[in-house]
Amino acid sequence: MKMTILAAAWMVPLAVLATPNAEEVMKASFKDRGQAKVDRLNQDETQAACSKYFAAVPKDVAKKIEAANLKTIKYPADGKVMGDWKEGERIAQSGVGKQFSDNPANPAGGNCYACHQLSKAEISFGTIGPSLYNFGKLRGFTEAMQKYAYGKVYNAQAYSACSNMPRFGHNQILTEQQMKHVTALLMDPDSPVNK
């Protein structure tokens, strides 16, 4: 009896929420920590649509998502999308950045190997994304393909709605310079990706 009363006393504030909305419950279940604030749970239109449909996005919705994301891509002002593939390899290996446990003063990685095969030498690669081994070699080392690769890193959902791949440029995970390096990792004929 005593137990029940005690319990009831500290449950009162929650009892007010009769039928809690999932999103409100979710927001109340997280707290700010370091650079990761609760507002990260707020969704933009792309995130909301991709959560709703998840694996099976209707074609018309997919088209809208791709068109909206295509508009966000900003190419470097100097017109050069290729950096240093060696720097790109380092970025591809690094999984730090944007976690509440990361120091926001340090540059983020791209963590490409978490999901993709890239060079033959790195055998610890994930399979969430397709293999990118020989990416440039298979597609041709053209300027158009370089630009496509840069755009894909910048915002993958411009080409593939609800892709699992982070929108590295659009969400400011990688800098312009870092994205140039990653593009070189994919597109430089000397990169181990193309060996």
Partner: protein, 268 residues
Amino acid sequence: MKRWLIALFLPLMAAMPAFAQDGDATVKEIEKYRQALADGNPAELWEARGEDLWKKKRGPKNASLEQCDLGMGAGKVKGAYAALPRYFEDTDKVEDLESRLVTCMVMLQGFSYDQARKNPFGGPDVKSDMEALVAYVTSASRGIKMNVALKHPKEKEAFEIGKKMFFHRGGPHDFACATCHASDKQRIRLQDLPNLTKQEPAQRAYTSWPAYRVSQGELRSFQWRLFDCFRQQRFPELVFTSQGSVALTLYLAKNANGGVFNAPSIKR
């Protein structure tokens, strides 16, 4: 006690990538490593400490947890974890093991809510009583089939909230739980990712937590598993025993129904 075993296998783990010639060989070596580990699981130390904590008179009321009702009746530990989370009338809430332990520590032992939720996870400088209690209670469900009910309206509601959370894409990386855990046979680096929306892989994954993590030297509860997934998801901090954390646990536990519980286990 069995620390020497860990010391023995740590170098093996570090050398693992060197074994890998192709995908299959890698998977086989990882499997061998896991089997070798299972021979001596330091989780036993947490289970023993948890049992002591369960039986010891503590708190302002100088009471043990032996009258704690985990859903099977007061003091009944056997099989309780396999049916959690569940709805409890006395709190009018759905509770997972950790939130139920907090409730019992408040009600029976007289701890404040904040005291009961202190140090939910152990670290180099902190011992977590909570993780020890979790080890003890979960070990009493070993060999029992997961049977989470969806009867009470609040259990059904929790399932729906948990499901929504699972597919919620957000944060700078657009990640959801489902990004890594809604497809078959995927890996992140060399780590297999269970499809938690499917019964068989969900059973295998869920019934293997809590686990002693060799890389951390700590026993980790399911609340910790979710907390650290969300950290890597680039989300803010999941509040320990929050309503959302319990809802997500219920969604995953329900998907694992019928699987034979076999934890605390040991993992890399």
